[in-house]
C-alpha cells in the first residue's frame, strides 16, 4: 500500500473503471483488479468481493463479453473484453464523469471574489 491511505471508490464508478481497464485489452478478473491498482498507483481501494458482481452485471448488460482462455501461467481463466456497446457506454460515462468532475472542481476551487 502507498503512503497516503487509499481512497474508497465512489458509488457507481467501479463499472466505469472496469470498462476502462478491459478497453486496454482482454483481462481476467484478477487482471482487472491488478490493472486498476497499477494505473491508480495503488491509490484506489477496490473491494475484491464487489469486483465479480460488477463483472457479471456488465456482462449481463452486454457491455463486456467473457470467454475462457489461458492465463500467463498456463491456467484456465475467464477473459473479458469490451464489446461495441461497451465502448459506447465507456465513452458516454467518461464524458459525463469529466463534465461532473469539471463542475465539482470549479465549484470547489471558487474564490470568494468570483461569486
Amino acid at each position: 500500500m502507498g503512503n497516503e491511505s487509499p481512497i474508497d471508490l465512489l458509488q457507481g464508478t467501479l463499472d466505469m473503471l472496469v470498462l476502462k481497464a478491459v478497453s486496454l485489452g482482454p483481462l481476467h478478473g484478477y487482471g482487472v483488479l491488478l490493472r486498476i491498482q497499477q494505473i491508480s498507483q495503488n491509490r484506489l481501494e477496490i473491494q475484491q468481493g464487489s469486483l465479480y458482481p460488477a463483472l457479471y452485471r456488465l456482462e449481463h448488460e452486454g457491455w463486456i463479453a467473457g470467454e475462457w482462455g489461458q492465463s500467463e501461467n498456463k491456467r484456465r481463466a475467464r477473459f473479458y473484453k469490451l464489446t461495441a456497446a461497451g465502448r459506447r457506454r465507456l465513452e458516454n460515462e467518461a464524458r459525463k464523469w469529466n463534465q461532473f468532475a469539471d463542475v465539482v472542481g470549479s465549484i470547489l476551487s471558487a474564490a470568494p471574489e468570483q461569486v
Binding site: 484478477y30 475484491q48 468481493g49 452486454g62 481463466a77 475467464r78
Partner: protein
C-alpha cells in the same frame, strides 16, 4: 443488443444453473490462487496467503448469489424457495390443505359445471352466420282463438295463449307477400322416425326443412349438397335427406361413399345427399341436432299424420315453424305490422272464423336461439342452481379465508422471528402470498376435474330419454372457469396477505413477547368469528334449501296417482300412416292386444293413446248436452282413447256404470266413460250415466257420445297437478284419427325377462314394427320428476358440504380461541371455576355465534323463498318445519364441533396452564 444479452444470460442462468455455478466457482478459484501466488511472492507462507486471499474475496456462496442477482434470476430462486417452503408447510398440516383445497375444488368445480351448462342453454346462439339477424314467428291469441289444432309448442299464459306453429298455407302466404324481411323459410321438428341402414333399423330425430332453409341460414354441408328449392317443389317428388355430422360419424364412420346411398326412413327409400357441418344443430335448438333433415315436401310421406288431410294443404292444422332474417336497416315493427295483416287475411279467407272466435296476432321474436325451448324449460331451475352454487363458492372462499386467518394468527411468532432476523417486510408478504396462491391454484386444478366430471354427470342426469338418451353436448366454458378460479385466487390473495400485513406491522418485540396475553384476544378472534357466522348463515340457506327440495320429492313420491304404478311395463307403437289407414290401425292395435294378452307372464294389458304421468296430454272438446254453461267456462277436457281392459289393467276403480267391452265397436253406439272430476264439474251430485256430450272430429263435425260409466280420478300428465277432468273413449270409436299407441302391460316379470316376449308378440303381427320407448311406469315417473330428483340430489349434496364446512369453521375458531385463552381459563379455574362452568362458557360462545348465523341465514332464506316457491310441491318455501329442523341441525353441528375444544378447556390443569407461559 443489451436486451438480447440480458435475456441470454437470464435464460442461461435459468436453464444451465449448475454449469454456471461451476464456472463462477472456477473463476473465483483462479482469482484466489493468482492472488495467493502474488502474496507468496511478497513473502507470505502458502497457508497464510490462501487464507488472506479467501478472506478478501469473501464467501464463495455469496459471490455465486450475487452473480445470480446480477443475471436477474434472484426472484426465480426466491420463488422457488417460497414454493418449497409453502409445500412443506402444506405437507405439515395435510388436514388443513385437504379441507381448503377440497372445498375450493367443490366450489369452483360445481360453479364451472353449472355455469357452463347455463351459458350453453340460456345464452348460446345457433351456430350459423349472423345468427342475431334471425327472427322467429309467433302468434298470440285469447282463449277463443280460431286455431284449434296445433302440433308443436303451445303455451297458455296469463295474457292468453301463444304458439310458434303455423299452417302450411299460412306460411306460403306469409312468404309470398313478405317484403320487409329476407326470404321467409320454414322447418318442423318432425320427431322420431325409423331409419333402416343396410338392414339395421334404429330410431332417429328428424327435421323437415323448406327448400330455401339452407340458403337462408347460410349453411353449407361439409360433404355433398344441401336441400335446395328443387327438392321442396312438389310433394313427395324428392326423397332425399341430409344427415348430421354426428350421425355420419356414428353410423357411417365418416366415409364419403355415404353420398348417394339409399336408406329407408319410415318405410320410404330415401337418398343421402349431404352431411351437415359439425357445429350445425338445425334451426330449432342450440343443444342437440336431429340426425336427419328432409324436405318439407316429403311431410305427407314421412309424417304419421294424426289428421286425414294433407299437412301441406290443410289450413286448419298449424304445425310448421317459420323464421326469417331481418333485412339490414329495416324496421322490425313495420315488418310485424305488414306480416300481421297478411296472417289476418289468410286466416279470414281460409278458416272462416265464427263470430265468437278471435283471430290471433303475429309477433316477431328473437330467433337467434331457435325455439329456445331449453331456456324456457331450464331458465328457472338453472338460475336457482346457479344461486345455490354461488353460495357454495362463497362458502368455500369463506372457509379458506377462515383457515388462512387462523393460520396467520398461529404463525404470528414465526413472522416476528423472521422479521427480527432481518427478513424484509415485502419478502414475508411475498412468502405468505405464494402460499395462499399455491393453495388457490391447487383448488383450481382439483376444481377443473370436479367441473369436467360434474358437467358429465349433470348432463347424464338431465338427458332426455325421449330423444334416445342423447346427451346435450356442452363445450367446457374456459371463461367461466377463469372467473371462478379468479375469484378463489382473489380470496387467497386477500386473506393471505391481510393477516401477513398485520403481522408484519406489529413490533418485533411485542410479537415475540406475546404468548397468551388475553388483552388482545377479543379483537383477534373477531374476524374469525365473523367469518364463521357468515358461513353458518350461508349453511342455513343451503340446508334449508336442501330441506324444502327433499321434502318436495318426498311429497311427490307420496302422491297416490289413482292407479297402481307397480308391475306395469309401457311401450309405444308408431304405425306409419303410409302403411296403416285409421281403420287398419284400430285393427292392428286389437291384434297386438290379443297377442299380448296371450303372452305368458302378462296378467293384464290395455292400449291407450296417452301414457299416464309422461308429460303427455290430449285436450279435446267436451260439451255436455242439456247442461247450462257458464259463459267463460272452458269447453274441453283431457281425454284418452283406451282398450277394453284399461281400467282393470291400471286398477282404476269404476265408481258407477260399466267398462268398455267387445260390444263397443266402430259401428255401435258411441260410448264414453268419464272420471269423477268431470262428472262433478257438469252434473254435480246427479248421476251422469246415460247423459250425452258433444265432441268434434278433425273435420270439426260434432260427434255425440253417451256416458256409460264413471271412474275414480287419476293424475294425468304429471304428479303436481290435481287430477284433471278426463273422459275415456274406446280406441275403436275415436273422434280423430288413431295415432301412436302406448301399451300398458301388467306383469310380475322383470323388464329384461318380459320385453323379448312382448317384442315377439308384436312382431308376430307386423315384423317391421319396433317397440319404442320401453320402460316401466315407475321409471316413467322417475323421468318426469328428473328435475325434482336432481334438485334433491344436488341441494342435498350442497347442504352436507355446507354442514361439513361450517363444522370445520366452528371447530377451528373455537380450538384457536381455547388455545389462546389457556392462561385465562387456568386463572379462572385456579380461582374456583368448575370444569362444567368452563365447558358451558366455551359452548355458550359457540352457540351465540351459531344462533346469530342461523338467524341471519333464516332471514336470507325467507327473502329468497319466493324464487323457489313454484318448484316446490306440498309445502311453502318458508316451511316452518324445515326451517326449524335446519336450524336445529346447524346448532347441533355447532355444539358438536365446539365440544372437543370445550372439553379441552374444561380439562385444563390450572397449574400447568399458568406455567404454560
Amino acid at each position: 443488443m443489451s436486451l438480447r444479452s440480458r435475456t441470454g444470460t437470464l435464460w442461461c442462468a435459468l436453464t444451465r444453473r449448475t454449469e454456471l455455478d461451476a464456472q463462477v466457482d472456477e473463476e473465483l478459484r483462479f482469482h484466489i490462487e493468482s492472488y495467493a501466488e502474488d502474496l507468496m511472492r511478497r513473502g507470505l507462507g502458502r497457508e497464510e496467503a490462501m487464507r488472506r486471499a479467501r478472506a478478501e474475496l469473501g464467501s464463495l456462496a455469496a459471490a455465486r448469489e450475487s452473480a445470480r442477482q446480477a443475471w436477474g434470476t434472484r426472484w426465480v430462486d426466491e420463488l422457488r424457495g417460497d414454493l418449497r417452503y409453502a409445500l412443506r408447510m402444506l405437507a405439515k398440516s395435510p388436514g388443513f390443505a385437504a379441507i381448503a383445497i377440497g372445498s375450493l375444488a367443490l366450489g369452483i368445480g360445481a360453479n364451472t359445471a353449472i355455469f357452463s351448462i347455463a351459458k350453453h342453454a340460456l345464452l348460446d346462439r345457433l351456430n350459423v352466420p349472423h345468427s342475431r339477424d334471425l327472427v322467429l314467428f309467433e302468434w298470440t291469441g285469447n282463449r277463443n282463438a280460431v286455431v284449434h289444432s296445433i302440433w308443436g309448442m303451445f303455451d297458455r299464459g296469463l295474457d292468453g295463449s301463444y304458439s310458434t306453429s303455423f299452417s302450411y298455407p299460412a306460411y306460403q302466404a306469409l312468404r309470398s307477400q313478405n317484403r320487409s324481411l329476407e326470404d321467409i323459410f320454414a322447418f318442423k321438428d318432425a320427431g322420431r322416425m325409423n331409419i333402416t341402414v343396410d338392414g339395421n333399423a334404429e330410431v332417429v330425430q328428424s327435421e323437415l326443412v323448406s327448400g330455401n332453409y339452407y340458403q337462408q341460414l347460410e349453411v353449407k354441408p361439409e360433404l355433398g349438397r344441401a336441400i335446395g328449392p328443387e327438392d321442396d317443389a312438389k310433394p313427395g317428388a324428392s326423397p332425399v335427406i341430409v344427415i348430421s355430422d354426428a350421425f355420419w360419424s356414428r353410423r357411417f364412420g365418416r366415409s364419403s361413399s355415404v353420398i348417394g346411398k339409399t336408406v329407408t326412413v319410415n318405410f320410404i327409400p330415401m337418398t343421402i345427399i349431404g352431411v351437415n357441418p359439425p357445429g350445425f344443430t338445425g334451426a330449432k335448438s342450440v343443444q342437440t341436432s336431429p340426425e336427419i333433415f328432409a324436405p318439407l315436401a316429403m311431410a305427407p310421406q314421412l309424417v304419421t299424420n294424426p289428421w286425414r288431410t294433407s299437412l301441406l294443404e290443410d289450413p286448419k292444422h298449424w304445425w310448421v315453424i317459420v323464421m326469417a332474417r331481418r333485412k339490414p336497416h329495416a324496421s322490425e315493427a313495420a315488418a310485424q305490422a305488414e306480416l300481421s295483416t297478411v296472417l289476418h287475411n289468410v286466416i279470414q279467407t281460409t278458416l272462416q272464423p265464427k263470430p265468437d272466435e278471435s283471430i290471433p296476432r303475429l309477433v316477431l321474436t328473437d330467433g337467434s336461439r331457435g325455439l329456445n325451448e331449453a331456456s324456457y324449460q331450464l331458465q328457472h331451475p338453472l338460475s336457482v342452481l346457479l344461486a345455490m352454487t354461488g353460495l357454495v363458492l362463497l362458502l368455500a372462499c369463506a372457509n379458506m379465508a377462515n383457515l388462512l386467518l387462523a393460520r396467520a394468527t398461529a404463525r404470528q411468532r414465526e413472522m416476528s422471528v423472521r422479521l427480527a432476523l432481518g427478513a424484509g417486510r415485502s419478502r414475508i408478504l411475498r412468502q405468505s402470498l405464494t402460499e395462499s396462491i399455491l393453495l388457490s391454484l391447487c383448488g383450481g386444478a382439483a376444481g377443473t376435474i370436479v367441473a369436467v366430471l360434474g358437467q358429465q354427470a349433470l348432463l347424464q342426469l338431465t338427458a332426455d330419454p325421449e330423444s334416445g338418451g342423447s346427451v346435450m353436448h356442452v363445450p367446457f366454458s374456459w371463461g367461466v372457469f377463469a372467473f371462478t378460479l379468479g375469484l378463489s385466487l382473489l380470496t387467497g390473495i386477500l386473506f393471505g396477505i391481510a393477516p401477513a400485513l398485520q403481522a408484519t406491522r406489529t413490533q418485533v418485540r411485542s410479537g415475540l413477547q406475546d404468548t397468551t396475553h388475553t388483552v388482545t384476544r377479543r379483537r383477534r378472534g373477531y374476524a374469525g368469528k365473523t367469518i364463521v357466522g357468515f358461513q353458518i348463515a350461508i349453511s342455513m340457506l343451503l340446508v334449508a334449501g336442501a330441506g324444502v327440495f327433499l321434502r318436495t320429492l318426498i311429497n311427490l313420491n307420496r302422491i297416490d296417482p289413482g292407479f297402481d304404478t307397480h308391475n306395469l311395463v309401457l311401450f309405444a307403437i308408431r304405425p306409419p300412416a303410409s302403411h296403416y289407414s285409421p281403420a287398419q290401425t284400430a285393427e292392428l292395435i286389437q291384434r297386438i292386444e290379443e297377442r299380448l294378452k296371450a303372452t305368458p307372464g302378462v296378467e293384464a294389458e290395455s292400449a291407450a293413446s296417452i301414457p299416464l304421468l309422461a308429460d303427455d296430454n290430449s285436450f279435446d272438446d267436451f260439451t255436455p248436452v242439456g247442461v247450462p254453461l257458464k259463459s267463460n267456462e272452458g269447453r274441453g277436457a283431457s281425454d284418452n282413447w283406451v282398450g277394453d281392459d284399461y281400467f282393470a289393467t291400471m286398477r282404476i276403480p269404476l265408481l258407477a256404470g260399466r267398462a268398455f267391452n267387445a260390444h263397443d265397436t266402430a259401428t255401435s253406439e258411441r260410448v264414453a266413460i268419464i272420471n269423477l272430476a268431470l262428472a262433478q264439474e257438469y252434473w254435480g251430485k246427479t248421476n251422469p250415466i246415460g247423459r250425452t256430450f258433444h265432441t268434434s272430429d278433425d273435420q270439426n263435425q260434432t260427434l255425440t257420445y253417451t256416458i256409460v260409466g264413471v271412474c275414480a280420478n287419476t293424475r294425468y300428465a304429471d304428479l303436481r297437478h290435481d287430477p284433471p277432468p278426463q273422459f275415456f273413449i274406446s280406441y275403436r270409436q275415436p273422434p280423430d284419427t288413431l295415432r301412436d299407441m302406448t301399451f300398458n302391460v301388467r306383469t310380475r316379470a322383470s323388464l329384461d325377462a318380459i320385453v323379448p316376449l312382448l317384442r315377439t308378440a308384436v312382431q308376430r303381427v307386423d315384423r317391421d314394427l319396433p317397440l319404442d320407448n320401453v320402460r316401466t311406469q315407475t321409471e316413467q315417473i322417475a323421468e318426469i320428476t328428473t328435475t325434482e330428483r336432481m334438485f334433491a340430489d344436488l341441494t342435498g349434496g350442497f347442504g352436507v358440504l355446507a354442514l361439513v364446512l361450517a363444522c370445520i369453521g366452528i371447530y377451528g375458531v373455537m380450538a384457536y380461541s381455547v388455545s389462546q385463552r389457556t392462561n385465562e381459563i387456568g386463572i379462572r379455574m385456579a380461582l374456583g371455576a368448575q370444569p362444567g362452568r368452563v365447558l358451558r362458557m366455551v359452548l355458550g360462545e359457540a352457540s351465540w355465534m351459531s344462533i346469530l348465523g342461523v338467524i341471519a341465514g333464516a332471514g336470507g332464506a325467507l327473502a329468497l323463498s319466493r324464487l323457489i316457491a313454484s318448484m316446490l310441491y306440498g309445502l311453502k318455501a318458508y316451511d316452518p318445519a324445515t326451517f326449524t329442523a335446519s336450524a336445529a341441525v346447524l346448532l347441533l353441528v355447532a355444539l358438536a364441533a365446539s365440544w372437543i375444544p370445550a372439553r379441552r378447556a374444561a380439562g385444563i390443569d390450572p397449574m400447568r396452564a399458568l406455567r404454560h407461559e
